[in-house]
């Protein structure tokens, strides 16, 4: 009996999803731009929190040239710079409980999932030149039974149409990407818009659901819920 219990526990420790659960973990805190500002040990699985974004809808959805009034223009749900600063100051002074009470922290997905997502979504390298890999959406799905699925959407040309990827209804969590492809025809550049979550992305969520979007053209990761974008960070900082 004891042997069996030890064996089962040993086997569980070998599973990647449980690898961190029985050893002291850390809680990591990122500022509103995704930079590391605090970390402490913690007797449980790894957790990472980011301070909510202060970026307005215009800052996330206008392009360099374009005050875009497009049907897919989404929305931001930012906090004020003062609120963000107060939360970041609390973290820097190691008042983690105080920072948590502000309600301005967003928890990221587990680190092993974030690393897998980055590896998969980076097939679109963000340069917009590859007519295949940079011209499709990618989706990772976590099903109700805990299994993970990686899907590639069809290839589309932004000067024509397309770029959608079906997400199964049985999923409890999914992340997806917006393609970086740019097609130049004379002096006209065609590209996919928006790189941040589209209005469809936001409107399909129920209250309380949080999703992750990789804007491969902006090289940023956007965390959003049914109210809009709540956190933004550079892709390289997402695996901290």
């Amino acid at each position: 009996m004891i042997f069996s219990f030890a064996l089962i526990k040993g086997l569980l420790l070998l599973l990647p999803f449980n690898a961190n659960y029985d050893i002291p973990g850390t809680i990591t805190y990122l500022d509103r731009n995704g930079e590391l500002i605090g970390q402490h040990s913690y007797p449980g699985p790894e957790k990472t929190f980011i301070v909510r974004t202060t970026c307005s809808t215009d800052e996330l959805y206008d392009t360099a040239s374009n005050k875009v009034h497009h049907k897919m223009r989404g929305r931001s749900n930012p906090i004020t710079p003062e609120q963000a600063q107060k939360t970041e100051d609390l973290i820097r002074s190691k008042d983690y409980a105080g920072a948590m009470k502000t309600g301005n922290l967003v928890q990221l997905r587990p680190l092993f999932e974030r690393k897998k997502d980055i590896a998969f979504f980076s097939q679109d390298d963000g340069r917009g030149e590859d007519p295949v890999n940079d011209s499709r959406e990618y989706v990772t799905v976590v099903h109700r039974n805990g299994s993970r699925e990686e899907k590639k959407g069809d290839v589309f040309d932004p000067s024509k149409s397309g770029a959608e990827c079906y997400v199964p209804g049985s999923s409890i969590m999914y992340s997806h990407s917006h393609p970086s492809r740019i097609v130049l025809q004379g002096d006209v550049e065609y590209s996919f818009y928006p790189q941040a979550p589209s209005m469809d992305d936001i409107n399909t969520l129920a209250a309380g659901q949080i999703r992750v979007l990789f804007g491969r053209g902006t090289n940023k990761v956007y965390i959003y819920n049914s109210t809009g974008v709540i956190a933004v960070l550079p892709t390289k900082n997402y695996s901290q």
Binding site: T63, S65, N66, A163, D187, V188, F192, D200
Partner: protein, 155 residues
């Protein structure tokens, strides 16, 4: 025997022709383009008293037959040069591209794709942003096209 086979072949040909139409007359195509735009306006432009303009990318096979105005929305077809001239005067505009009518399994469709257009001074390039569109779906009742619905799609 040969006559029986011939009559039978003609009957089968006529039945199959009546059941599935894969091509439309020019008049029906015009109807599809006009209805795609007017049904889009009916569906998405709720405030019919507000004067509005819908810019369409010029395409002789799809946009020539459109009315100049529908309800309170002006329909203006723009060439590429006209788009560029307009972007010298205004910061951005939505330009609707209308694709040619498609047929699949007896269902006809026309897709309207709004492109967010602007001029990037730093790069000296015009930006056309694609984020999805609208597809008007039709069936053919044997005599005429019948509008069914508009489907939205986007990234």
């Amino acid at each position: 025997m040969k006559i029986t086979l011939l009559v039978g072949s003609i009957c089968i040909f006529q039945i199959s022709f009546a059941q599935t139409i894969t091509n439309l007359s020019d008049a029906d195509k015009t109807t599809a383009y006009v209805q795609a735009v007017t049904q889009y306006i009916n569906t998405y432009k709720k405030d019919i008293h507000k004067t509005d303009t819908l810019f369409l990318e010029e395409n002789s096979s799809t946009t020539n037959s459109l009315p100049a105005i529908y309800r309170s929305t002006r329909l203006i077809s723009l060439s590429k040069e006209q788009v560029k001239q307009l972007l010298n005067k205004r910061h951005s505009l939505n330009l609707y591209r209308m694709e040619q009518v498609k047929c699949e399994d007896g269902i006809f469709s026309v897709t309207l794709t709004p492109l967010g257009c602007g001029f990037n001074k730093a790069r000296n390039k015009y930006e056309y942003l694609y984020g999805g569109g609208y597809t008007a779906i039709f069936t053919f009742d044997g005599k005429k096209l019948v509008f069914q619905k508009i489907e939205e799609h986007g990234i």
